[in-house]
Symmetry: C3
Subunit: 128 residues, 3 copies
């Protein structure tokens, strides 16, 4: 499960890095807490971080269930695609939120694959 653990830590470090960038933009644009609205650059980065949290909450359990019930190495590979997808999402969203589909789809497809494949594998186990 070492590969699963490493992909988990990469996804967490990525999220922490996104959160740090939201903090930097708070300082840069003087958006004082607890305000959540501000210039587009700040709001975009904040939405990238929030959306990444929503994805992460599904991705991590999906990754571990897949690793345990299907295959940890394949899981790490698909998990790596999730991390790449989130970087693509961030870059596109900051440029223009309307362009966020590709990165989103990449990350989401990775998560959905892990989740549905794990469900099928567990269901087949139970039917055996």
């Amino acid at each position: 499960m070492e590969a699963t653990a490493i992909v988990t830590i990469l996804a967490l470090l990525q999220f922490v890095w996104f959160a740090i960038q939201v903090g930097s933009m708070r300082v840069k644009h003087e958006v004082k807490a607890p305000a959540m609205s501000g210039p587009p650059e700040f709001e975009r980065m904040m939405r990238v971080q929030q959306n990444t949290m929503e994805q992460l909450v599904v991705f991590l359990p999906a990754l571990w269930l897949y690793a345990y019930y299907v295959n940890p190495l394949w899981g790490a590979g698909i998990g790596f695609v999730y991390v790449i997808g989130r970087f693509v999402y961030r870059a596109a969203y900051l440029e223009d939120p309307a362009k966020r589909s590709l990165g989103f789809t990449l990350g989401f497809t990775a998560t959905a694959t892990l989740l549905v494949w794990a469900l099928v594998a567990i269901s087949l186990d139970l039917l055996r």
Copy 2:
């Protein structure tokens, strides 16, 4: 732990479905990202999803700790009540946010039961 895994995946698929509905309402009501405010239907669905994420973050660890330290089958049963509670919450919230208590209480009671029971079981283990 297969029952625990299946309830986990159901709760995750439910959350993903709620997130997809937020996305659909963004398109339907033309609420362009990164905007987070819009017509009531959009804001309600978004709050249902956000609140479900807050609950999920507590529910999943509680479910697994209960499964491991108390009983996986009972855990899956209580976990199923959580999923039902969240569907009731969604339906009521979309109709009228003031009616959200019943569904919320159902889901929250399930989570709190798992969490507190697991804490008691672990504490008794340590005292033995």
Copy 3:
């Protein structure tokens, strides 16, 4: 892993308690759902809860990876610092959001320590 489980439950109960306080302030200040803006006291508590969720999502996996790959007892100790940090953060933020750094740094340093140390331990394992 009992110590890890207990710190997990403490961190979850803390988050639940923060969420309950947001709910109380909704009632007290008559901020009707789905509204997310209101008087400073409400918005501050809501931001404390949201930020705690963001931290929790990283903290829990970091705590368990550290417990498994490094040492569960040390992990519980560092995890306890996280919980303290979050209480300090809450108290300071409610008084004045500008004073939130100390509590934030305490909690975040705990999480970052768990995460990076786990990554180093796993990487060394793989190189052996």
